[in-house]
Symmetry: C2
Subunit: 269 residues, 2 copies
């Protein structure tokens, strides 16, 4: 059946598993194929040209699985290479930035939104541009938080050091009196608790992954692509390199067991 074809999700590494987690909660019957380009992670600090080459190759990996839609669960690719993916795929393509930006605009009362992400995502101004297109009156304040990714991977979720680091990163945003904060990196939902605590719950957090799952559900419904089967779905995970920490960190991000992980070896590196 056409609607039983999987949703394809790719990311530079394992962070996108938080998006898969959000997808499985929002659409528990969809089959999903995930590809994490773990041999070449991270994309964040890399130049635009390199990220665009990688995005094209990642798309091809998913297209081999006859996916019915592609979700780019990587903020860097969503920011600078979504057009490449769209051009290559003959199926609907969705990044994480537009859904995250849209949800933030809907949420803010004071029209003051903060964005946190990698250096690359923040420098790209992709969230700022997306938000301003929806509502030019909104003021957007970005802050790169490079230590959040390794902290999430270490699993130091309740550590005093994580709280100090979060305070240092988020302090300038509190001065700007934001009322909404976009978690503009797929690793950050892991640190949602400490981020909310540091902001004293005065700011609404927007999880880009959850916003994307919501938008994807609407799109599949509209295009009559929603899987009508109620069987247990098939979740398949593939990576370009099986790193030392992949299974342990991946399961924390996914919120469940990963099962067998396939290694994609055809990629040039």
């Amino acid at each position: 059946m056409k609607t039983e074809r999987p949703i394809g999700v790719f990311d530079s590494g394992i962070g996108g598993l938080t998006v898969v987690h959000a997808l499985t909660r929002r659409m528990p019957h969809e089959n999903i194929v995930y590809f994490g380009d773990t041999a070449r992670v991270p994309y964040g600090p890399k130049s635009t040209q390199v990220v665009r080459e990688y995005a094209a190759q990642d798309t091809d990996v998913l297209l081999e699985h006859d996916v019915k839609m592609i979700i780019v669960a990587c903020n860097t690719v969503s920011a600078v290479a979504l057009d490449i993916v769209q051009k290559r795929a003959k199926v609907p393509v969705m990044g994480v930035i537009l859904p995250g930006a849209g949800a933030a605009v809907k949420t803010t009362r004071k029209k003051r939104i903060g964005i946190i992400g990698t250096v690359g995502t923040i420098k790209s101004n992709a969230y700022t541009n997306a938000i301003r297109q929806v509502d030019p009156e909104v003021q957007v304040f970005g802050k790169a938080c490079p230590l959040f990714v390794p902290l999430a991977e270490e699993g130091w979720i309740d550590h005093k050091a994580t709280e100090l680091i979060a305070k240092e990163y988020l302090f300038p945003l509190t001065l700007e009196k934001i009322d909404t904060l976009v978690l503009g990196c797929t690793h950050y939902p892991i640190l949602k608790g400490v981020i909310a605590r540091v902001l004293q719950n005065s700011v609404t957090l927007i999880d880009s992954g959850e916003a994307t799952a919501e938008a994807a559900a609407v799109l599949l419904e509209e295009q009559h692509l929603k899987n009508t089967s109620t069987l247990k779905p098939n979740l398949r995970f593939s990576v370009s390199d099986v790193s030392h920490t992949f299974a342990e960190v991946g399961e924390r991000f996914l919120g469940q067991r990963l099962g067998r992980v396939h290694r994609v070896s055809g990629l040039a590196h």
Copy 2:
């Protein structure tokens, strides 16, 4: 002149610039060519097979510059792929592990040595094996410190969070009553101050980069390859990708201005 040929140094990224820093202090008249594979950094979490492929390609980049010796300023490559580099190059090759291990054995009085490094370096047991070959009676205690690399890159050298993280990582090693600690990652010398403070200066720190510079100086002298010119040396830097933070972080690591950085584009990725 044969002796004027440059020393070639490569690393997975910018960390190796601390080794270049050590080399320029120990041998201020040597010409140096550096290659950082910034498009594919980090090597630490990658599988051995992938690291070996990359190491071969990095070697080829340096061989194009007619280098008189190659220093592998990457602990991961030194641990699992030094043989590949040696096989490819017709010049002397030196990793950072044997010099670091040798210096640690010379230093320890209690025969209890700690090693800190990336997950990959620690799991490889490369330092432990190297130390045991020199002195089988020495006890070695390894600890992976994944957050040290991003902390060094952020430049959070005197931050309270860095101290808390260092305490957490190093506490198990103090329980083992080590008297010598090898900084088994080229990023770590940046954090030497906080590491020494946390250990209350009771442990001698071995900087693998400095130990390697010393060993390289001895080797060049012995093989009559030392540069006899006293002109200002030529330092050339090349990378496979110019990242957002390369110049800023690189100059902190190198301890001086980088000048023009060449991008090597021939590498498959």
